[in-house]
């Protein structure tokens, strides 16, 4: 019974938040609804004994990622609402809904018909969740874990290069730039 309550609450949080993201006109409001949605997903993680991932979800997603979103929204000053009545392309909205409905029907068909997911009854893991995840990450997935550090460094360097202002005197030669000529 308890799991049902968490499931319904988490699903309501996640889906209402998702609706808010796609329906609210103001980007800041959309970002705040995104927090709600991510928090709902974290609740669903808790309901499935994924405690470590729930914590990471709240800290990394609802914390860092959404703060980054809000930071960029404030930085480039798009705190003005988008007029969502204007359609970007003619017929884009109906087409989007049609494609999404098609995908939804397909997914429902797959999940509803498939019953052999390797056991329907929930199995409980032995040991605490954090111990199990860390044992897996630091043994089988050790190389992948090390490579993610390279990925993060590359992402940081890429972000710095992308967000850097273009050099002012682009037509200067290297010697002129070194000499500091105007």
């Amino acid at each position: 019974m308890g799991e049902w309550i968490v499931l319904v609450l988490g699903a309501a949080f996640a889906l209402l938040g998702g609706l808010g993201v796609i329906l609210l006109r103001h980007p800041v409001h959309a970002a705040l609804m995104l927090v709600q949605s991510l928090f709902g997903v974290a609740m669903l993680f808790v309901a499935q004994q994924a405690h470590f991932l729930a914590a990471v979800q709240v800290i990394v997603y609802a914390g860092a990622v959404v703060v980054l979103f809000l930071f960029v929204i404030m930085l480039i000053g798009v705190d003005r609402a988008e007029d969502i009545r204007v359609e970007p392309l003619k017929g884009q909205r109906p087409l989007a809904l049609f494609v999404a409905a098609l995908g939804l029907v397909e997914l429902i068909a797959i999940v509803a018909m498939q019953n052999d997911f390797g056991g329907v009854l929930p199995k409980t893991f032995e040991g605490t969740n954090v111990e199990q995840v860390s044992a897996m990450v630091f043994s089988d997935y050790l190389y992948a874990f090390e490579i993610t550090s390279i990925l993060l460094v590359v992402a940081v360097v890429g972000a710095v290069v992308l967000a850097r202002r273009a050099p002012r005197h682009i037509d200067q030669t290297v010697d002129q730039q070194i000499d500091g000529a105007p």
């Binding site: 499931l7 995104l34 997603y61 999404a100 990450v137 997935y141 874990f145």
Partner: protein, 107 residues
């Protein structure tokens, strides 16, 4: 026995939630114009995929599904950093962040 069935929801229910979340994100991505909001919709879809991974990890009693979600989160964080950098540099050139502004490649 009936009470036991009520006490434990079928894990498939989580799959349906993840599915609905993914479709919401897809609709938003396809129909919004603001690039930042489109990016948020991508995050919604990523989260739906993560929820699916966790659900399958539980159904199969295999912790590796959760380990993969951990890596997905790292990649998503890197993706957000680079994507927002791209958005900032689009804004520098065009002074707007709607998708139809970046139409130089249109035929």
């Amino acid at each position: 026995m009936h009470l036991v069935a009520v006490a434990n929801p079928n894990p498939k229910a989580y799959l349906f939630v993840a599915m609905a979340l993914f479709v919401l994100g897809a609709v938003g991505l396809l129909s919004r114009r603001n690039v930042i909001v489109m990016f948020m919709c991508v995050e919604l879809m990523l989260n739906a995929a993560n929820l699916t991974f966790v659900t399958f990890a539980r159904m199969m009693g295999d912790i590796r599904g959760q380990a993969i979600v951990f890596f997905t989160m790292v990649v998503a964080a890197a993706e957000v950093v680079v994507g927002l950098g791209i958005i900032v540099s689009i804004y520098r050139r065009r002074k707007a962040v709607t998708a139809e502004e970046a139409s130089l490649l249109k035929g």
